[in-house]
């Protein structure tokens, strides 16, 4: 079967008053992809997601999600997608099993089928022991797993996750991802998420859309983004400044951006792990104290693209209204 696009957005725009939260979003996501929106708070990630999930109507532009138009057939979109929002989907005064069964009924399952599906999901997400508990007594990680279970009740072909692991401790994050990736592998689900965690986008997503100030400014695999926008750097500390200068001359032909700072050479190369030993073999007489290959991070990519670090901007509160 030819993979179809589960998401197709054209010139999607949303403004809040004079603030343009999302500006002309064009997006194609094929069946089976695992895509992440990466960007600082207020970049327009959640607003984009809220438009694609019919929570927010676009100011202009069109989008088709899971084969249905978000403007003319929002009900069709809602039936076909799973959505895990930033907050907790289960009511705090409700019980875990009740909410799951109710969710199944909301998606058209009969009571008995909804119950069977809820039991199945409780098992899949290691929540069996909590079935009768009130949601407000659950830990953050447990609630998040319940949110994912709620999003999967109807076996959606496309799952949206809005900042799925924000606020979780590292162990709960890893656990949540284990579950999401396993369920995705089992059902061939397409997953679209937003995150402001660099490592999450880097290790989990197969395709990263870097978003800043309402626009997608880069779209590729994390590896290609890194090699295209930053590359790898070979960093060598020689015993003397003269030694560093000789190394700089030697690596010159295969490197760009060669800098020498006292005894330390930094050179941007295409293939660091190969270039470093080659350099050391070429200049066996130069005494070298330390050598390493520095691989780019997505933060380096963001810095190269915007001149700002994501680590700094991620902690800055923004004025963008969250509608």
């Amino acid at each position: 079967m030819i993979p179809m696009n589960l998401i197709e957005a054209r010139e999607l725009t949303r403004s809040f008053g004079s603030v343009q939260a999302v500006q002309g979003l064009d997006l194609d996501v094929a069946e089976g992809e695992l895509v992440a929106f990466l960007g600082p708070n207020g970049a327009g990630k959640s607003t984009s997601l809220r438009m694609l999930t019919t929570l927010l109507s676009p100011t202009s532009g069109t989008a088709t999600v899971a084969g249905c138009d978000i403007a003319t057939d929002p009900a069709g979109v809602r039936r076909r997608i799973g959505y895990v929002g930033q907050g907790n989907g289960a009511g705090h005064t409700q019980r875990v099993l009740d909410e799951l069964v109710g969710q199944g009924r909301a998606y058209g399952l009969r009571r008995r089928d909804a119950h069977a599906r809820a039991t199945e999901l409780l098992g899949a997400l290691q929540l069996e022991a909590l079935a009768g508990r009130k949601v407000q007594t659950l830990s953050g990680g447990q609630r998040r797993r319940l949110d994912v279970a709620l999003g999967l009740v109807h076996r959606p072909p496309l799952l949206f996750l809005d900042e799925p692991s924000t606020g979780l401790d590292p162990q709960s994050r890893a656990n949540l991802w284990d579950h999401v990736l396993r369920l995705r592998a089992e059902h061939g689900m397409t997953v679209f998420l937003t995150t402001h965690y660099l490592d999450e986008a880097d290790t989990m997503a197969e395709r990263v859309l870097v978003m800043d100030a309402g626009r997608v400014i880069a779209d590729d695999t994390a590896d290609r983004l890194k090699s295209k926008h930053v590359g790898e750097r070979v960093v060598v500390r020689a015993a003397t400044p003269a030694g560093a200068a000789r190394l700089a001359a030697a690596i010159g032909p295969v490197a760009t951006d060669v800098t020498v700072d006292d005894r330390t050479l930094t050179a941007r190369v295409e293939d660091g792990p190969a270039a470093l030993p080659a350099l050391l073999r070429a200049e066996p007489e130069v005494a070298v104290e330390a050598a390493e290959v520095r691989r780019a991070t997505l933060d380096d990519v963001f810095l190269a693209l915007t001149g700002r670090s994501l680590r700094e901007t991620a902690t800055t509160p923004t004025e963008t209204p969250e509608a």
Partner: protein, 253 residues
Amino acid sequence: MSVRTFATDTAIVLERELRPVTRDPFSVVFSMIQPLIFLGLFTPLLAGVTGLSTADSLQSFVPGILVMSCLVGTSMTGSNLQAEMMTGSHERLLVSPLDRSAQLAGRALKEIVPVLVQALIIVAVTVPFGFRLAPAGLVVGLALLAVTAIGLGSLSYALALAVRDQQWAFWAVQQTLLFPLLLLAGVLLPLESGPGWMRAAATVNPLHYLVDAERALFAGDVLDRVVVGGVVAAALTAALGLWVGTRAMSRAT
């Protein structure tokens, strides 16, 4: 959207709303505290001022307290939705295929349950002190309260949807409207002794007609003309509430 979907979806939402109420019945009692305080502390004052017996005071005061209990409880219910808006469960339901008007209707219908339970408790508590009731009047009186509760609850939900996450704004509006509505309904003291402008203001307060109707009904005058006024007021309140609430829910983001 078919009628069947609407009915099914409403039932799903209603069932979800009723679960915490039935599992934690104390929540029903909570919003009764104010009306019960008025019942306990105001009835003796009323008897003292009017010179009527406790039983006769109750006869005019209890129907008013039933309306008060209905208003206090249903007007607060939007805060439950507000809590769900802040945690994220409201958003989850908005993305679900549940019909939006059913999401409002299911929540509004749930208001009937606490209102009726509270009314029955109040009646049960006051009968030993001499409050008399006619069975037919009780049934019609409770039905009117139920219809009114749907409307008032819907308006409270609409308020919550309008002010979004600003809890202070919800309570500011709710508290600002609560006592004028009660005083201008003649719940505490009869409006007949009030100035003309108050009586004029009361004519646009549906609760005023409802209180008059409840008094007549509990006195056994089921066919009294004021009962018709109460029926119309309750129906209009429900219609207005459902219209405003459904619009707000359909536009919720």
